[in-house]
Each structure stands twice: as C-alpha cells, then as structure tokens.
C-alpha cells in the first residue's frame, strides 16, 4: 500500500497520543479556569513523574524486547528496606550503598534468568516480583507502611527542597529522561539495545554481546525502580508497600505502550514515555478538577486509551514482521 505510507508515517501512535493530549489540554484549558496556571502545569507533570521514571525503566527493557513486571515490587521492597535501615539508625550513605547492592542484585537476577536460563521475561519477572515482595514483606517488614524516620534529615530536607523551582520527583524524572535519551540514542550499548530488540538473532550473529546487554537492561530498570521509589518516599515521607497490589504496574506498561514503544521491541524512545505520561497526567488532573469519582476516572482513562490503540491499529496496520514475530 504505497499510497498509505506517508499518512501512516505522519500518524504514528506517538503523534496520535500527542494530538489527543493536546486536544484534551486545549479542552480543559478552555473549560476549566485555572487549568493553565503554571502551578497546575507543574501539578500535571508532578502527578506522573514517579510513573514516568518507572516507565523510562520499563521502556529500556521493552526496547530490548523484554518486559519487567517486577518493577513495582522492586521499587517498594528496596525503598522499604532502606527506610527500615534508616529507622534502625544507619547513616543515609551506608544504607543507600547496601540497598544499591541489593537493587543491582535483583536486576541481575532477572537478567540472568532471561539471558542465561532462557526463561521468558514475562514469566521470569512475574515470578521474581511475587518472590521478592513475599520474601521481604514476610521476613523483614512488619508493616505495610514504612515512614521516613525523623532522624533522616537529608531525606526530609530533599522533600521540601526545590531544584530550579521544581520538586525533587519532577527534577529526577526530567534528569532520567535526559540521561536515558542520550544513552539510548548516542551510546554504543544504547544502539545495540535497539538492534537486539529489533532482531535478536541478527544482533547475536553480528557479535553484539546480547546476554550481558539483557542483564544490563534489567539492572537499569531495577535501579530506576529504586529511584522512582525514593522520589515518591521523599515526597510522601513514607512508603506504602501495598502499591504492589495497585494498578501502578499496568499504568507503567500503559504509558510505554500508549506512548508508542511497541512491545515487539526495537522501537521508540524516551520521547514516547514523556508523551504517554503527559496524556495520563492531563487526563487525571482535569478529571480531578471536575470532581469525578475514581471509578469514573478509571472508565474514562480506559476509554481514551482504548480509542488511541484502535486508531493506531487502523492507521498503522500490523506489518509482516510483527505478525511473524508476534507481540508479547
């Protein structure tokens, strides 16, 4: 279908979602007074910044044609352990060092299962998610909610500090996106990740160290999960481990997919994460101003996302390669 090529190039999923976000933004801006106030724009970004950090990590793994369903579990577990250590009187730096080691260990464990044991990423991370959370929750933590102890003054200070006028979680989100963007686009491992995600066998054949690369991508997503958790804990001065049971993980996958990083791998980038997160943020913010109850918010969110996927399916029919490889 040569005639439809330009149209489909113009309307990639990313553009569709971006247009939807712009349309929603314009609609809310016209209908809701105060929606475009700078503080509210900051609220919009802030409400999705933790989600965005997680989605950046998920995006990296998905580009390499994997998926990491253990992110939320790793996020709550690592932060809970860190807060527990701080409550036990550990210094911030020593506690962070220990937790960093644990986080790298967890990411590497996922990576090894996928790269060396040959378990599918879907099942490996699903199992490790349940195992890690179950183990830590039952053996180490006695409570669902862990508070930042008053002795952790640095963390409490970070919660109130502003970086160029931005709260910590927003600043971290922007920094993560910038760093990941540069690494994915211009670094050698970043380019290799795309090649591997696009065609695993060919990448392997041309000598790309695919197995270490897979391990590295899972370590990156684990570290970003920890970072997202710390950003959230610093802002809320607590970590609720019950997030594991929430829909957060689905929202992360949603942001990645809706933004246009295809689950078949090798496509998309950090721009897609930002676009996907912004759509969700604008939606939630506008609906909160409208005082819509949670169930209606979920319904509307689902309908808009469904609409974006269907529109994308119409404008960008699945090509031969995807139908041969299949999505996850």
């Amino acid at each position: 279908m040569p005639s439809s090529r330009p149209l489909s190039r113009l309307f990639t999923q990313e553009t569709i979602v971006l247009l939807m976000a712009v349309a929603l933004f314009a609609g809310f801006a016209a209908a809701l007074p105060g929606f475009t106030a700078p503080a509210n724009l900051l609220n919009i970004v802030r409400s999705v910044s933790v989600l965005g950090i997680l989605a950046a990590g998920m995006g990296i793994v998905v580009i390499g044609r994997g998926i990491d369903l253990s992110m939320v579990s790793i996020m709550v577990v690592t932060v809970a352990i860190q807060l527990q250590l701080l409550q036990g009187g550990w210094a911030l730096w020593s506690a962070s060092a220990v937790v960093a080691a644990i986080t790298i260990g967890l990411g590497a464990m996922n990576g090894f299962m996928v790269a060396y044991a040959g378990v599918s990423a879907l099942f490996a991370t699903l199992a490790s998610s349940a195992f890690v959370f179950g183990f830590v929750r039952s053996q180490i933590l006695s409570q669902d909610v862990i508070y930042v102890p008053p002795s952790a003054e640095t963390l409490l200070w970070l919660g109130k500090a502003r970086f160029l006028g931005l709260p910590l979680d927003v600043a971290v989100f922007l920094a993560v996106v910038a760093v990941a963007l540069v690494l994915l686009r211009w670094s050698r491992p970043g380019r290799f990740l795309y090649l591997m995600g696009d065609n695993f066998q060919a990448a392997r054949g041309m000598g790309i160290p695919v197995r270490p690369l897979i391990v590295a991508s899972f370590v990156a997503s684990a570290l970003l999960a920890w970072l997202a958790g710390m950003a959230s804990a610093i802002s809320l001065q607590s970590m609720n481990t019950r997030l594991v049971n929430s829909a957060l993980l689905y929202d992360v996958v949603l942001v990645v997919v809706i933004g246009g990083i295809g689950l078949s791998g090798g496509k998309g980038g950090m721009r897609n994460v930002v676009v996907g997160a912004l759509l969700i943020g604008i939606l939630l913010n506008g609906m909160t101003i409208l005082n819509l109850p949670n169930i209606h918010q979920n319904l509307i969110k689902a309908l808009i996302l469904l609409g974006a996927i269907i529109l994308d399916g119409q404008l960008n029919p699945r090509d031969e390669q995807t139908s041969q490889q299949g999505d996850i």
Binding site: L32, P33, G34, A37, A39, N40, N43, R46, S47, V50, R137, L141, S142, Q143, D144, V145, Y147, G159, K160, P167, S232, S235, L236, Q237, S238, N240, T241, R242, L243, N245, S246, L284, N285, T288, I289, N291, P293, N294, I295, Q297
Partner: protein, 342 residues
Amino acid sequence: MSKLTKTLGRVILAGACLAGAAIGAQAQDSNPGPEAYRSALEGKRVVMVPMTMGFDLAQGWNHFIGEEVKQFGGIWETRDPNWSVDAGAQAITDLISSAEKPDVLIVQTPDLNSYSRLFKRAQDAGIFVIQLDNPSNYASDVFAGSDWKRLGELETQAVIDHCGENSSRKIAVIQGDQVNASSLDQWAGVQAVLERNPGWTVAGTADSNWDATTARNAAATILQQNPDVCGIVDFWDATAQGTASAIRDAGLQDKIFLATTGSGEAIDCKLLEDGTFGAIVTSELPRQSQDVVAAIKILLQSGIKPGQSKNYLYTHEVARTKKDVTPDTCWSQAAIEAAAKK
C-alpha cells in the same frame, strides 16, 4: 485413756477438717461465676480475618483481643488475606467447613456485600460472627467499631471549629473510594455537618483509592484551583500523609487545617504534635478491642444461638488536637512487638 483421747482428738480434728473443707466448698459453690466463666470460655476457638494482618489496626487487634482470648483459655488464630477479597472469602469458607470450626469469627469486611452470604452460612454452622471496624449490609451477631458517619461529623466539625465563621468557609474532602462503608459513611457525616452549617461548602473532593500518592496529586490539584480552602478532611491517616505533603508543597501548612482518622498508633500522635495533622478522630483501638472481648465473653455464656441477636457496639470517639495529646493517648506498635518477643 490418753491413747483413746488422742485417737478421739484425731478423729475430731479430721472431722473438723472435712467439715471445714465442705464449708469452703460450699462457699465456692455460692459464687458460681469463675467456674461458669471458665467452662463457657475455655478451649473456645476465636479466629480473626482482617483485611490484612499487615497494618496497624490488625496488629493492634491481634494484640489487644488475642492476649485476652488466650488469657481466658481460648484458642486464638488469625488469617491474612493480604487485601484480597477472594482470599478472605476462601479463608472464611475453609473455617466454616473445617473440622475444628471456630466458635467465634471476627471479620473486618472489605465492603458492604462481599461476605454477607458467608456470614449467614457461618451462623447456620453455629459460629458467632463479629464484624469489626467496617460495617456491611448484613447484620450479624455483633458489629463493633466506629459509627463512621458520626466520625465524619467529628472530623468536619473540627475543621469548622478551627476555621471559624470569618474564614472562607470552604473545605476540601479526600475520600477513600465509593464502595467501602467507612468512606461512604464519613462522606454522609460531612454532608450532615454542612447542612447544619449553612454557608460552608465543599470546594473540591476526590477519591484517594486509599493511596497516598493519589491523595497528594488530588489535593495539590484542588488546592491549586481553590487556594482559599481553609480545611481538608481526609478519610484515612495513611492518605492524609499525601494530602499533608500537598499542603506543605503549596506552602499552606499554617493556613490549612487537616482533619483525619486513624488507628491511634504512636505515629498519629507524632503527626498531630508536629502539626502535620490539625485534628484526628482515632478509632480508640484498645477500647474498641475491649468491646470485642466483652462481646465474645457474653455471646459464649449467654446460651443464645448465632443469628438470634443483633448487637451494635459503637466505640465512643472524639476529635483530638495537639493540646489533647497526653503520653497515653496513642498506643504503640513497637511496644506490642516488644511484648510479643518476650
């Protein structure tokens, strides 16, 4: 002669002893209480199924109710559904059909309807059902816990009292969700107080879905739209942490009065004292637990069958501010854990 006297003396002494013992026994018989108490309660199995064992309320109940059940010779067990409604239903079903059926089942129901049929089945199987904390549409033998509507009224009144009539008379409300009775009833309480206080309005409201991040984002948005709000009612202390962080971020911590509810664990008193919370209506966990213990003792001695009576034991609750906090206002999770380790 002397021998005879001695023998006689011994016989008399022995007789006297016997008589004394008999009189003693008679004296004991005249107070049948301890024996009736013991025989009715000893070996009785009491099982608690909260929404999860992993939060302050359940750990408090486990301590305050469990210790006393063990004290009167009962068997105390808990099940942990870990927030899963299905796992809770499964646990209750298993308990009803198990060989060692409980005599009393204490359940914190997650919503209005999910367990109603199971409660009926449990009662038919001869198990007393005590609903704790969250009410449902089914009236079982006992409901013990907060009158959530009254609790919502106390929170709202605390905000109005603090703001005063010269304020903007605008409040915001961070609710829980739209299915849990504790949330719906608190909302009814808010409405009831607003009706009694004309001129006061809810400037914005949102559901936190019991998640602190959602609460923070919603509160930030509402405050952005309505910076003149003078007080916020948040339906749970864990989400109120998120709401408080939105207030802090907006730089309004000296202007906005935050009222909430919680279990009364030490963290609540700390947050009250450092000004994060303006007022809190705690569920008075130790006294609430004592109500449950009393209900167990009465049900097991009363001779009535499960399902024959319906009783409501509402805990007396008050709104407390910083100035009401005394060293024993809150109970301590750490102290409970320390006691459990002994």
